[in-house]
Symmetry: D2
Subunit: 156 residues, 4 copies
Amino acid sequence: MTYTEKMLDAYPAEINIDHRQLASVIDALEACAQACTACADACLSEPADRLPMLSRCIRDNLDCAAICSTTAAVLSRHTGYDANLSRAQVQAAIQATKTCGDSCSEHSSRHEHCRICAEACRETERALKALMPQLEPTSATTGPPSQSAPQQQQPR
Amino acid sequence: MTYTEKMLDAYPAEINIDHRQLASVIDALEACAQACTACADACLSEPADRLPMLSRCIRDNLDCAAICSTTAAVLSRHTGYDANLSRAQVQAAIQATKTCGDSCSEHSSRHEHCRICAEACRETERALKALMPQLEPTSATTGPPSQSAPQQQQPR
Amino acid sequence: MTYTEKMLDAYPAEINIDHRQLASVIDALEACAQACTACADACLSEPADRLPMLSRCIRDNLDCAAICSTTAAVLSRHTGYDANLSRAQVQAAIQATKTCGDSCSEHSSRHEHCRICAEACRETERALKALMPQLEPTSATTGPPSQSAPQQQQPR
Amino acid sequence: MTYTEKMLDAYPAEINIDHRQLASVIDALEACAQACTACADACLSEPADRLPMLSRCIRDNLDCAAICSTTAAVLSRHTGYDANLSRAQVQAAIQATKTCGDSCSEHSSRHEHCRICAEACRETERALKALMPQLEPTSATTGPPSQSAPQQQQPR
């Protein structure tokens, strides 16, 4: 069990999403951010005749790393949960992993780091898409928004 | 003229958005991220009887700081521009500044730092909304996506 | 094997540090950053009578999260390696994990999230200290700094 | 007056550093981070025959951007101030701005974005060095560390 799941279990209020699923999404986002940071750097160390073909890939790596990292942080916070914000940021991460996964895939046969990074992007994109339906605000709400959203009930 | 605008002018290819407008959005995002980081910390130093009311505000500050900072970085990159990605991340930032602006506004009369931070959020939200129409892919495109998007033409 | 280690193995030049050790440091830093982000948020959801005692812990969590995350990124880059920079940032991370570990330890008996976070901080502090001697520039250098440092040889 | 300085003035406890100086350091760090992010991307859009010479510069830009941004956040927090942590992170930022300033300077005559970025790095390095003496713990302390450090007195 990763620290991520342990911390979800130790959160002092209810989180109305399956802890294991949420932890695996957060961990996927962080592994993807790490792969993208490493892939951007690996691209920079490719030989001079290869590097120019990789400039777009590097840019997409950098965006994807920053977006995945920010999204992991947003999904790690449950105090005053706002479904609209989580959904908008997850949507941006789905786009970032798709864009970067596409870029890296173009170079997978030539560069092992692009192949691995594309795999991390695709895996994270799938995990994010599977999470989206869980981030819907509940339909019947009686309290203020921060209390009726799926991830946060009343503090004990 | 800020470094942001100078750097846009020094970019070695065309950026098809007004440099001054884009620079002012990026600068607003960074000023907002800074205000949110400072507001979260100022809330933490409020007296014990005030702090519990500010926990949601702190959380929104932290999300808004991370999202604005990431969005500024995405908008500062023009190599291999992808309109879908920029738009999705800007959309998340619009939501983050709205959510955080609303949270801080609730405490504006009691806490000057919340009043100032709400102002930074509102200003950034307006700037982002004004930028959105400029991030549309151009309608008539002949080249591949990375060359037909508004922010990026062929490298010289 | 994590993506981190796979990416080190796929890097297109030599990295003169044991890949397994370096990967475990980077992974510890990211797990620690994640635990700190989650601990700050868990503290914010503690009851009103507990929250004021946790304000310093929250601040230390936020610093430690940002510093660990940045240090992981610095250690994930090997192009043009600069031992002085890596060492200075690792030193800052050693201090951040110590400070945060101390803060969280004070609340370990009352708050499980602080106990887990303190554990993540101590583990990361130990891993960073064990890495430091490996970041020394080699004594006998003939090339420019970027080529004589332990983490980077000539690109193949 | 920037939001940074306004937020320092609105902080609900004493900050024992001149607000204007501290604000100017934080603003310099954020302007430098922005310049570095933009310079890395501008380098990526340079022609194929120039790009390989810029790979180290891009790497230094990315480190410097992340480190400056993290350092700005650390210096923006005053709750439970820890002089050792601030000093260690500022030290890392001094090294990052020096390393990146040196890298960019090598390309200043060829690339305007490197010239501007080097200027931002040098300016920030100077501001950080001038701040260091202010981050010394006060010599005569009676309370616990968090109360005797220069940046933080007792909350009002």
